[in-house]
């Protein structure tokens, strides 16, 4: 790892973007550990062609993954008037959400209104414990009528299909979306995704979402979702918390409003076995952050809040956050839980020393304390 550090610093000196971080985590309960990550990123632009490469080597405390080297990105892209091409690891965003793809993605724009996208490759997940391996191929066509003006809504309609494979299992997915946005800050989305199945019951997910400035100083938004299909970025064979919590799907609603740093947010969830709700009120004023949160579901609930602050002291930065909650768990045991975090960062020439001390009382009413000290270079 020391050699990797030297290599990273050498590459940084040669003009590449190199990052390195080594953490020491002394554990006061008998399991001290350390972990390290060294990353290098290179970006080269030559005319319309762009090369991005990024990799990282790391030591982790995850059982069975003591050390691993990841090629995080190796991507060649080109953007021309009528087409663009990506090869390597890319972030694919669409109305369904986000997926990370190791493969090829091409976008064609035969006219200003019509565009199409084809992609093929392997889904990648940052969860180092995931063992599923999913390959997919698919495409989508979009129609985007011309619109101009500050308040004009710019609509976009998309239809797409893809085929996913994991071993000898094949799954088709269909998706459709209608979205619109305006320069004045309006965003609208209606989206549905379906996985046809030979079972009597296919699976699907759908979203309705709107956000907009409500007045000169107030912005608000609301969404309504039905989730009965793992999100697009999750590999086929991988389990998800949905499997245990809402195996037959759930509906979720959320609303929020913000005015000059004061944000109010409320949400609700409903599924076969439970009805729950949550709320959050947060005020940010320069260096001060005050918040209150609560949630209730399945007879369990919590409520509480806290405050945070950050300051610059000469070249150093310090920040602190503290929170106190009254929690009644799913087992109906009630108690106070708390956590305080103190963060500091001191520049040491080209390096930075970061520290985090945290402690509190957990839901088993056991006090705990932890310290993390990191030495970093670059943007790590």
């Amino acid at each position: 790892m020391i050699a990797a550090w030297i290599a990273a610093l050498g590459l940084a000196h040669a003009g590449a973007s190199a990052t390195a971080a080594t953490e020491a985590l002394p554990d006061f309960y008998g399991d001290p550990r350390w972990r390290s990550r060294v990353g290098v990123e290179v970006t080269q632009q030559a005319g319309p062609w762009r090369l991005e490469a990024a990799g990282a080597a790391r030591d982790t405390p995850v059982p069975g993954l003591d050390a691993q080297a990841d090629l995080l990105r190796l991507r060649v892209s080109s953007t021309q008037n009528r087409w663009s091409l990506d090869a390597g690891r890319s972030a694919v965003w669409d109305a369904r959400g986000f997926l990370r793809l190791d493969g090829v993605r091409a976008e064609l724009r035969p006219s200003s209104a019509w565009s199409g996208q084809v992609l093929a490759g392997r889904l990648w997940t940052p969860d180092p414990t995931a063992s599923a391996d999913t390959w997919l191929a698919g495409g989508a066509a979009s129609f985007e009528p011309d619109a101009s003006g500050l308040t004009a809504l710019r609509p976009r309609y998309t239809l797409g299909a893809e085929l996913r494979a994991d071993g000898d299992q094949l799954q088709p997915r269909l998706h459709a979306a209608a979205a619109a946005w305006s320069l004045a800050g309006v965003r609208l989305l209606g989206q549905a995704e379906l996985e046809p199945s030979t079972d009597a019951r296919g699976q699907g997910r759908a979203t309705l979402m709107a956000s907009a400035p409500l007045s000169g100083t107030v912005t608000g938004g609301a969404s309504l979702r039905w989730e009965d299909l793992p999100p697009a970025g999750l590999p086929m064979g991988a389990s998800s918390p949905m499997d245990w919590i809402a195996a037959d799907g759930y509906a979720a609603a959320q609303g929020w409003a913000e005015r000059r740093g004061l944000r109010a947010q409320a949400g609700a969830i409903a599924h076969q076995d439970a009805l729950g709700g949550s709320g959050e009120l947060r005020l940010r004023r320069s260096a001060l952050d005050v918040f209150a949160r609560g949630a209730a579901i399945n007879g369990a609930h919590y409520a509480g809040g806290g405050l945070g602050t950050d300051h610059r002291l000469g070249p150093a930065t310090v920040a602190g956050t503290s929170a106190l909650y009254r929690l009644t768990g799913l087992d109906q045991r009630a108690g106070w839980i708390s956590e305080t975090r103190l963060d500091g960062e001191i520049p040491l020439g080209p390096l930075r020393l970061q520290t985090r001390a945290a402690g509190g009382v957990d839901r088993l009413r056991a006090p705990w304390f932890s310290v993390r000290v990191s030495l970093c270079a670059g943007g790590a």
Binding site: S77, S90, A184, P241
Partner: protein, 176 residues
């Protein structure tokens, strides 16, 4: 790029004029060879013969954001080359809850993100593992995550699969 230009113009119209570095790092001698190569004259930047600084933003953005076909390829495109306060350039919906809200917003207008961000802007956070990985979870999360996960289990899958849960919860000491 047309969208970005329109957005910047709209931002300028809706908010106060963005703060520029004083003096602006605009050196006529430095620009002269590039302007000559692009066959650009005084009036290409000083639109309408207005020589009062600063020149209109579209004149700068034409070359520095590559909107003019004649733009030299080496014109610096970093916003902070001229703009002193990067936060002033933020779109109006990048509010205090943006860290948790940006996913849904991007679903409604994914192409709009690309006006300012590269692909690597997403992966820079969303591919992280191990040391240096940023966490969006606030204080108390280790005790509250059971309830928070029950409020929206699909949201966990942005970073985790179910194997993250079973790594601890299959031991029996901490049942699901």
């Amino acid at each position: 790029m047309r969208v970005l230009t329109a957005f910047l113009i709209a931002s300028a119209a809706l908010a106060a004029t963005p703060t520029l570095h004083t003096p602006l790092p605009m050196d006529h001698d430095l620009h002269a060879p590039w302007l000559k190569k692009a066959e650009m004259g005084c009036m290409d930047c000083h639109v309408g013969g207005d020589f009062t600084p600063p020149i209109p933003a579209p004149s700068c953005h034409g070359c520095h954001l590559g909107e003019t076909p004649r733009a030299p390829r080496k014109a610096p495109s970093s916003c902070t080359t001229c703009h002193a306060v990067r936060e002033e350039l933020l779109p109006t919906d990048h509010l205090s809850g943006w860290l948790t809200q940006h996913g849904q917003a991007a679903r409604a207008a994914a192409r709009r993100c690309a006006d300012c961000h590269e692909d690597s802007s997403c992966l820079g956070c969303h591919d992280r593992r191990g040391a240096g990985a940023a966490s969006p979870h606030g204080p108390g999360f280790s005790s509250l995550h059971g309830l928070d996960a029950r409020m929206d289990p699909a949201s966990c899958t942005s970073c985790h699969t179910g194997e993250t849960c079973t790594a601890c919860h299959s031991t029996g000491a901490t049942p699901l």
